[in-house]
Symmetry: C2
Subunit: 128 residues, 2 copies
């Protein structure tokens, strides 16, 4: 059995998945954060002098939730829920070219493309 | 070009992806949270009386990060990074049976299985 009747009187009990979805979207979850902070990457290639490249990394705490849905039919037995996980990751990124010096090679340099992270943000991924 | 030499002198600059990974794991990201809160689901089936079922939903703010990796070879051009997103979701869940009254049907009841969320937790998903 379940103890629904007791809990139904509690002030914290939400009446449906839609209420729960509302809570997760509006009230409690506003203050998530995602930082963009510099980090040095070393760009390497055999026969070349490695070179530092100042990139950014992302870290933070973003909103996520898992809300059971109403069970409507037999076919919906299973893990049926609203699921969402926001991920602190690059919002803007672009390719930059780094030229390495490669003495003894012909030509004596190599160009490498590096993905440069400009800005990070909590971005929602809806999970299946 | 890039402005690495200037930034290299800054106190906040991390020297490698490994340092960055360390920061995201140890220092800043400890206080993530994931709540377990009751919500009423309605269990329905055609020809039966719907019934409330007190389940739980999960919501919170969990750690996530995206850290560019060192570029080592030509083949690694692309979006090569450590990526991790922790997701506030059920740690423990089990199936419960709900019996609906279905007057006029034979037998006059139907049993339905519902996934009951016992406890939620930030669980790390490593993304590809």
């Amino acid at each position: 059995g379940y103890n629904g009747t007791r809990l139904l009187k509690g002030p914290d009990l939400l009446k449906s998945s839609k209420d729960a979805l509302f809570v997760t979207k509006k009230d409690y979850l506003k203050s998530d954060w995602c930082k963009t902070q510099p980090v040095v990457q070393r760009i390497k290639e055999e026969g070349c002098r490695s070179q530092p490249f100042v990139n950014n990394f992302c870290y933070g705490q973003c909103n996520s939730f898992y809300i059971p849905r109403n069970v409507r039919s037999k076919s919906q037995i299973g893990d049926d829920a609203f699921k969402s996980c926001a991920f602190c990751k690059p919002r803007h990124a672009d390719w930059k070219v780094v030229t390495l010096k490669c003495p003894g090679m012909n030509p004596p340099f190599r160009k490498k493309k590096v993905l440069y992270v400009q800005q990070c943000k909590c971005i929602t991924e809806v999970l299946s």
